[in-house]
Amino acid sequence: MYSDRSSQFSIAGFLVILLVALAIAAPRFFDPRNLGDLGTTTAIAAIVGLGALFVIVTGNIDVSAGAIYGASAVVAALAANAGLPTPLVIVVAVATGAALGLVNAVLVTLLKLPSIIATLGTSSLFTGGLIAITQGGLWVVGLPDGFTWLGQGSLLGVSVPIVVAVCVLAIGAFALARTRFGRRFYAVGSNPEAARLAGIRSRAVEGSAFVINGALLALAATLTAARLGQAQNNIGASITIAAITIAVVAGTSVFGGTGTVLGIVLAAMLVQTTTSALTFFHLDPLWAQMTQGLLILAALILSVVQRRRSGLGLVPRLLRRKEAVDAR
């Protein structure tokens, strides 16, 4: 579709410009080690972005992403330290993330809270709850090699997180483009009334977006814990905004109904390269967040300009109303 292609071109364009600028200003950025690291973090960011895609496509928002990420990372680290085999660690972590996502799902679909309120609440619920439950299990270090391989090892010459990300993104892309399950997200996001009339259970779809987001965040967090060899509870502090940045820059409309996995991948590359460049120049990580904020604004303004130029109606929906009385 026109708008998807054009936003993908824009992102790719910016990425190229950025890479060229870096090649000129800091050629050592392209050291194999640095690039390898960049690839890994981009892969993990793309997984996070995919989760955000599901939620935003259905017209909601999840600001508890960072809390879920942090909680899952700690759970994974604790599980790994407890001696569980790595596959089981992944299962435990992902289950945790999915469960937390389920809490969000219930609040939004069954209790009908606006997603901003529900996830603002769960954000502190999860964060506070985790600290309280683990009673000091805030900083887990010295993770076993069997586990850290997940984040630092490689398969056939490609780092493990990249392999995992490619698989996950491929599955996600397939599901969203070629399965009924996936297409429902777009239908519900674009016009919940029409979707309901067409027999789609809108609430279930919205709820599953939150669960999927939770699971993906947990997977990403596990990979990160493995990569760093440690897990802190506040590891997720910057994740919420990173997730939204990637989703918005990818061209996902904040009103729901559009967004592609390819866009997510490109956006993850752009955002991570930017962040990595900042670190390369020894700048405080807080600059990364500011840059992300600017990227969001730039992407939003660009989309407005694009719409005005092509004469499309602006803001067809002022507010989205989920009728409590289902049409069925």
């Binding site: 579709m1 399965t179 239908a187 029409a194 009339l197 027999g199 409309s253 729901g256 499309l312 049409a327």
Partner: protein
């Protein structure tokens, strides 16, 4: 299953519908036969849309029954109605704007194959359908980017694809040109051959006689006439639609026309209206007639500064005023819009608040609102317009439609406009209140206000207005004097181009 092919597939008996004290439908009987197109005609406000919504399960009748295939059926919801094979194509599209045409056709019912969604299969089937129906829209196009006409075609195609047995089209022709109309009609002929019962709501007479097998006319909430299309003619239809006695000429004080206060010079806005020119003088009422979609509201919005024309200019009191609502209102234009809910009332705010919202300055001292002054103004308005219940502290959403209307009128008049645009001022208002409003308008005009009256209530229009402009498809088609025959107005309003 119907007992015999002559039995109607859908039958409505004695359907009534009340909305908070207003009777929208008063005992409607309506039959639909498979394989026939029934045209449903009636003025704005006759109850056609309400009837359709009842069939489609969007409203529940207050009394009466729906008989489908010989069995009593309750259309509990739009979804249930769909499952019974009822498909409605409204004027506003109810599809997913962000998705492709192809996907919208199969929304909720994607075709599957082993390895996921069968896009190729869907594309093939849809292409074939489009070819058969003469629809030339790319399947990959984004629905939101399509013109209204094309979006409508997609909706109809979708209904056919889903095997609808009863297809209801709400004013489909209003957005189509000649070619598109022909395609639509051949599309409907196809459906007829497949046994679909079609309800075709329209105002355009020549469409009626081209496509309809039967004609049902509604008036004031009841079905007043029913005939085979082959047995009647245009004149008959018009007579049935207008019907009531137009003997009472609305009492008007004779006022010599004053200066020109509003001059509209050749304004146009792409897709909405074109080359509209007229003048309005102090002390006169200019009526603006026409069907929904003819461009009347848009012209009103242009004068009020809510819409900026691409061409032409508008002079208020001889001067050009910027096209912004606040500037136009400051210059003396007052606008009572047609859509109370969306454009007028602040439902959860009190009546006092609603009436005085735009004139708070005069009730303020040192920035603070003097509530007593505000309340006094509201009380005066309540009394002047007989707003009921006379408890202005209530939220306006609690009032009936007619009383809300009166409150809105009160608000507009608080600013003493010199040019007053009234759009459907007595819609949903009872007879007694109607008369009150007419008297008030007459007095205003006698005192020198210039009024642009937009109304679908033809007797009101021809009775009140000094002259009537008839709009059709975005242009002014004719000008008629006071006391003109409502049937004449109606005929001009919906005769299509080329007649």
């Amino acid at each position: 299953m119907p007992a015999s092919p002559d039995d109607p597939v859908l039958s409505l008996r004695g359907i009534t519908k009340n909305f908070a004290g207003v009777r929208a439908l008063r005992g409607v009987d309506f039959d639909l036969h498979a394989g026939k197109v029934t045209a449903l005609l009636g003025e704005n406000g006759a109850g056609k849309s309400t009837l359709i919504k009842i069939i489609a399960g969007a409203h529940q009748p207050s009394s009466g029954e729906i008989v489908l295939d010989g069995e009593r059926t309750v259309m509990r919801s739009p979804h249930v109605a769909m499952q019974h094979g009822v498909a409605v194509v409204y004027q506003e599209t109810s599809l997913a704007a962000d998705l492709s045409v192809l996907e919208n056709l199969y929304l909720g019912a994607w075709k599957q194959k082993l390895t996921g969604i069968d896009w190729a299969g869907m594309r093939t089937e849809a292409s074939a359908l489009f070819d058969r129906l003469g629809i030339r829209i790319p399947l990959g196009a984004r629905l939101g980017a399509l013109s209204k006409a094309n979006a409508q075609q997609v909706e109809i195609a979708r209904a056919i694809l889903k095997g609808a047995r009863i297809l209801i089209l709400d004013e489909p022709g209003s957005v189509l040109n000649e070619d598109e109309l022909s395609s639509l009609h051949s599309l409907l002929l196809e459906s007829k051959e497949n046994g679909v019962a079609v309800v075709y709501i329209t105002h355009r007479l020549e469409e009626v006689f081209r496509i309809a097998d039967r004609i049902t006319v509604m008036r004031d909430g009841a079905s007043v006439a029913y005939a085979e299309a082959s047995e009647v003619d245009e004149a008959w239809v018009v007579r049935q639609m207008v019907g009531r006695d137009v003997d009472t000429l609305y009492a008007r004080t004779d006022v010599p026309a004053g200066e020109v206060v509003l001059s509209v010079e050749g304004i146009g806005r792409k897709g909405l209206f074109e080359d509209v020119t007229f003048q309005l003088r102090a002390g006169e009422i200019l009526g603006l007639a026409g069907l929904v979609g003819a461009g009347r509201s848009e012209v009103a919005e242009a004068i009020s500064g809510l819409l900026t024309p691409d061409a032409g200019r508008i002079l208020i009191g001889g001067r050009e005023v910027p096209s912004r609502p606040w500037d136009r209102q400051d210059a003396g234009v007052g606008y009572l819009a047609g859509d109370r809910g969306g454009q007028g009332i602040f439902a959860i705010r009190s009546v006092v608040s609603n009436i005085t919202l735009t004139t708070l300055k005069r009730h303020s001292r040192a920035g603070l609102i003097r509530r007593s002054s505000q309340r006094a103004a509201a009380d005066a308005a309540v009394e002047r317009f007989d707003i009921r219940p006379p408890k202005p502290q209530l939220a306006i959403g609690n009032l009936s439609g007619g009383n809300q209307q009166k409150a809105l009128l009160a608000r507009v008049l608080e600013r003493s406009p010199s040019v007053l645009i009234l759009e459907e001022p007595t819609s949903g208002v009872d007879i007694g209140a109607k008369e009150q409003i007419h008297r008030i308008v007459d007095q205003l005009v006698a005192d020198g206000t210039a009024v642009l009256l937009i109304s679908s209530d033809l007797p009101e229009l021809v009775g009140m207005a000094d002259r009537v402009l008839v709009m059709r498809e975005g242009r002014i088609a004719a000008e008629l004097p006071r006391g003109a025959d409502p049937e004449a107005v109606m005929s001009i309003a919906f005769r299509a181009e080329g007649d």
